[in-house]
């Protein structure tokens, strides 16, 4: 399946195989870890990744704007990979084209540093915040267990946290030495973590506990993963 509906914190969310979450009721799109500029950064350093790969992020992004017609779009941090380059301007161009959408950046550490390089006048269209309470959700960049102690205060413990940052992945094993690994959506009782949206990003094998829900993403499909007993 390409999308998968899921109730989290008594709220219906749609997981999309393009590695985003859509909150239909609020017309809101959640996207984590776009890592804009990563490919260009590699190329600038003399590592020849196909340049075409840089544009695919934006193509997918645009397809989401068209399919879901969101009113709000939240980037859950790590929007940038490194010092600005033309990828940023192409991204800005795309976002300005969809002026009916409000864009928010839940900025990670990384983002804040890089934002300084940007011309403030030009990026008014992107609202930058540390974290955002959006009942029943709390949007942050880093997940709870992984955040630096004391840096983020969780204002309301009742809220269900949605974040990115770690690029969750899982590994499956089967008979005959088969194995598969893939990025995934992760939902525990307290928080949900989105896979990294960026095409050229690695991942971190997450630890799964009882009661967690995992949705793997592979070959343009969402695969609900059953937990071992």
């Amino acid at each position: 399946m390409i999308t998968c509906d899921l109730i989290v914190a008594d709220t219906l969310l749609t997981l999309d195989a393009r590695k985003v979450i859509f909150w239909r009721e609020k017309h809101s799109l959640f996207i984590a870890d776009l890592h804009l500029g990563k490919i260009t950064h590699f190329r600038k350093s003399g590592m020849a990744i196909p340049a075409a790969a840089a544009t695919i992020n934006l193509d997918i992004l645009e397809s989401l704007f068209i399919d879901y017609e969101p009113r709000k779009c939240y980037f859950l941090g790590d929007l940038f990979h490194s010092a600005t380059n033309h990828e940023w301007f192409e991204f800005q161009h795309l976002c300005l084209k969809y002026s009916e959408i409000d864009f928010y950046l839940i900025a990670g550490n990384h983002d804040l540093q890089l934002l300084k390089y940007l011309n403030n006048k030009e990026d008014k269209w992107l609202k930058k915040i540390d974290q955002l309470e959006l009942y029943p959700f709390l949007l942050t960049h880093e997940p709870e267990d992984f955040s630096v102690a004391g840096k983020q205060q969780n204002g309301n413990v009742e809220l269900y946290r949605l974040s990115g940052h770690i690029h969750p992945k899982i590994k499956l094993v089967g008979k005959g030495k088969q194995h598969l690994s893939m990025p995934c959506f992760y939902f525990s009782k307290k928080q949900g973590i989105l896979p990294s949206f960026g095409q050229f990003t690695g991942g971190y094998f997450i630890k799964v506990k009882e009661g967690d829900q995992i949705f793997g993403v592979m070959d343009h499909c969402i695969h609900p993963i059953s937990l071992p007993k």
């Binding site: 003399g46 075409a52 990979h81 695969h223």
Partner: protein, 810 residues
């Protein structure tokens, strides 16, 4: 020929040392003196160093300035020994040449000194030679060069390091140069071809000589035979059960090397021997490639001095300096190839006229046959060929950047040079343009990519001007790609060696594991370093290292088949191994059959597990993997069915949950070579195989950056895994030559396509001998318990995922 006037100083010096020049040495002196290039084939310890060195020294008149001769050794550890030999000869001839060593171990200040005051003879490695080319002064450095000698060429010819060497030679032997090139090789199956690879087209056929030393070294092969074959395991891979058979050998010999096939096996044997012979403590050591250089050097030195009685080792001691005290060699398990077995046998008996004794310890009953097969192969002087890789664009891309680092290059000139190498002889104009576009624009030149600026073009000269790019490239020169490893150190300091990351991640702090012969407690992991403490614990996990399991060579496989066919001839079955195997062979005969030369045995039986079909091509694991998938795919085309496939070096087993029904008339078609490659592509997961090959290619061609030494975190933002690159290329640049190379390598190395083709052609000519059996035969049993099980699946991804379970991270 032999008593020319010019050779008198050498003859005198030999006489003074009480040596007699050998025929091949005289021949080499003569050929070299007369300006020939070529290849000398001589076993180690027969004076090959002086065969070549002397030739160049005899021409010297002591007025030479600048670098005269480059000696390439693939093994750093050998450099010192060559330096000593060279200095002795230089002194002996009354010359005043300087000798320098330049390898990865050479200190920075000495390297600098060498450039200021370059020695006449430089001993170096293929990698360090490439680094020298990145120096802007290289045209001056090489200006007076007369010769290049490539030692142990058999070690290089079949690898990408050999390709790297060819490229360096294409530069040193540019048109107009007077450099002659000599290779030194051990006996291999394709010596003529090895010479062609070394000499390319820059040395014309009329100016070449192939010189073979006519020295027969006597080798005696003993197979250690279990007391009761019936009770010796039919399968297994450690051979520990026979360890007590070694005791008398170990105690009586002066010094013994025990060769094992894997590092894990080496660790296990070391522990076991220590328990078995506590009296050896202090005189027993181990040696494998993951142990720290320091410890290995210590072991090698102790072997050299004769203070160690037994060393358990892996291929890490196949090469290197001669250990004169070693008089006994033991090979545990299949050596996989004839040349490798001989090489190991040759590690003993260095005294003049000495006989090399090697004991073969089979790890399961049927493996005893290999002892007989090896003896036959050695008596017939059959040896494996080393297939030279061609069209390695990853190595070419690396080399082009290397050239752009020094004084820069003009593309047309370089194209003419590299076309003369064996590896790039067939490169087309289009491919060359692709390589140029790749290093200049980072992809197809049809699009302009302003941000990519690795190489700049100034007045037609291609140059790297960015200092950071240059620095990173220098760090990455080389074609040996290692797995991600973590360093193992004591908390208080002291480096033990390295272990692959995935093994460490399976351990928790406080857990005990065995490494380098020590029981160690994992204390903590910090910055890619595993900190440990010694433990008194007797039990512990033993790390294993992935990869490196060589398949049985096709020559050894052929001799094994011969042994089996010859079981029908009464007079030939006198070999002790075959006598010992008789009870087992009787069971095989009774339950199925022993095939004759014109027969191909297939066995079919059922068990609790399901329905089994087996066959025995004796072509090694990789070819069997390909045949396994191919036949399963062809079977499933006849009737939808899914198979689990297992294989070892001897045969293949297909297991299914439903009966395997096949008409005998269709049997032959299963092994047909018709549409072979199309069917292979459909039956094997070629994408996964290519992805595996791509990691090395990406690393060699500079796509992957592994970071500066000791500075892991800072450059994280430039690191990405090979599989990420593979996916991006797959999606956005499917015609990228490096990607295509990965597919080609998957075919030729992962499936050994030529060998596969030959094997199927042979089977096509045989009659299929189908036997319905009651249970697993002695031939089938070892395959069934072998752990490498692959499943051929035509199921959809969704169904596969449903059947798999989540691997829990601890």
């Amino acid at each position: 020929m032999a008593f020319n006037k010019w050779s008198k100083p050498a003859l005198d010096w030999f006489k003074k040392n009480n040596w007699r020049p050998q025929m091949f040495q005289l021949e080499t002196w003569d050929a070299c003196y007369n300006g020939y290039s070529g290849l000398v084939c001589a076993p180690t310890g027969t004076g090959k160093t002086y065969a070549l060195l002397m030739s160049f020294l005899l021409k010297a008149n002591n007025k030479e300035e600048g670098l005269q001769l480059i000696w390439i050794t693939p093994i750093r550890a050998l450099a010192k020994e060559i330096e000593l030999s060279a200095q002795r000869a230089i002194q002996g001839l009354g010359l005043s040449w300087q000798v320098g060593i330049r390898t990865g171990d050479t200190a920075q200040n000495i390297r600098k000194q060498q450039l200021k005051n370059i020695p006449q003879l430089l001993i170096t490695t293929p990698e360090s030679l490439q680094l020298l080319i990145t120096n802007a002064a290289y045209p001056q450095i090489f200006a007076h060069l007369k010769g290049v000698i490539v030692d142990e060429w058999h070690e290089l010819v079949g690898s990408k390091r050999g390709v790297q060497m060819q490229l360096a030679l294409s530069l040193l032997l540019r048109p107009g140069s007077k450099v002659s090139v000599w290779g030194i090789s051990a006996t291999i199956g394709n010596l003529e071809e090895a010479a062609d690879v070394l000499l390319g087209e820059y040395i014309l056929p009329d100016n070449r000589k192939l010189i073979k030393a006519n020295i027969e070294k006597k080798i005696i092969v003993h197979t250690l035979i279990p007391d009761k074959v019936d009770s010796y395991p039919w399968a297994g891979h450690l051979g520990i059960r026979m360890a007590d058979k070694l005791i008398p050998l170990l105690l009586s010999g002066q010094s013994t090397l025990i060769f094992t096939n894997t590092r894990a096996q080496c660790e296990i044997w070391y522990r076991h021997l220590l328990e078995l012979l506590p009296s050896l403590a202090g005189e027993l050591a181990m040696h494998h490639g993951s142990m720290s250089r320091e410890i290995r050097d210590w072991v090698e030195n102790a072997l050299y001095q004769g203070t160690l009685k037994v060393v358990v080792c892996t291929s890490s001691l196949d090469l290197g300096v001669d250990f004169r005290p070693v008089d006994t060699i033991i090979q545990v398990g299949s050596p996989k190839g004839i040349a490798r077995f001989l090489q190991r046998a040759g590690r003993s008996g260095h005294q003049p006229g000495g006989v090399s004794q090697i004991y073969f310890l089979p790890t399961h009953a049927l493996e005893m046959l290999e002892g007989a097969a090896l003896r036959e192969a050695i008596s017939e002087n059959r040896m494996e060929a080393r297939m030279p890789p061609v069209r390695c664009f990853d190595v070419l891309v690396q080399y082009m950047i290397t050239r752009a680092l020094g004084v820069g290059f003009k593309p047309d000139e370089v194209f003419e040079e590299i076309k003369k190498t064996f590896a790039f002889n067939s490169i087309s104009k289009e491919e060359w343009s692709w390589v140029l576009a790749f290093i200049r624009y980072g992809g197809n030149s049809l699009q302009a990519y302003p941000e990519y600026a690795k190489v700049e073009v100034r007045n037609g000269i291609w140059l790297v001007t960015d200092k950071l790019i240059a620095k990173r490239h220098r760090l990455q020169i080389g074609t040996i790609v290692s797995d991600p490893v973590m360093q193992v150190k004591y908390v208080k300091g002291g480096f033990l060696g390295s272990i692959e990351e995935w093994f460490i991640s399976s351990l928790k702090p406080g857990e005990v594991f065995w490494f380098a012969g020590q029981a160690l407690i994992l204390v903590r992991i910090k910055d890619m370093t595993v900190q440990v403490r010694k433990s008194k614990e007797q039990k512990g996990k033993i790390p294993s290292w992935q990869g490196g399991r060589l398949p049985l060579s096709s020559e050894l496989g052929a001799h094994l088949r011969n042994q089996i066919y010859s079981l029908h001839k009464e007079e030939l079955t006198q070999a002790p191994e075959i006598q010992a195997l008789k009870p087992l062979l009787e069971i095989q005969k009774k339950n199925a059959a022993i095939p004759r030369e014109n027969e191909f045995l297939m066995e079919y039986f059922s068990s609790k597990e399901g329905y089994h079909l087996t066959c025995y091509p004796f072509e090694g694991r990789l070819v069997h993997e390909a045949i396994g998938s191919l036949i399963a795919w062809r079977l499933s085309k006849l009737k939808p069915q899914s198979f689990s496939i297992a294989m070892n070096d001897y045969g293949i087993e297909w297991l299914s949950d439903t009966p395997i029904e096949i008409d005998t008339s269709q049997l032959k078609l299963l092994f047909s070579v018709e549409n072979l490659f199309q069917h292979l592509r459909e039956s094997l997961n070629s994408i996964a195989l290519a992805s595996r090959r791509f990691r090395d290619i990406a690393s060699i061609s500079g796509l992957l950056f592994k970071g500066y030494p000791g500075n892991h975190k800072k450059d994280k933002h430039l690191q990405a895994s090979g599989s990420l690159f593979f996916n991006v290329f797959q999606n956005y640049e499917p015609d990228n030559l490096l990607l295509l190379q990965a597919y080609e390598e998957a075919l030729s190395y992962q499936m050994e396509e030529n060998r596969l083709f030959e094997a199927l052609k042979r089977i096509e000519k045989q009659t299929i001998l189908w036997k319905n059996c009651n249970k697993a035969t002695p031939f089938a049993f070892p395959i069934m318990v072998d752990r490498l099980r692959e499943k051929l699946s035509s199921e959809k991804l969704e169904d596969r995922i449903k059947k798999m379970t989540l691997l829990l991270e601890k």
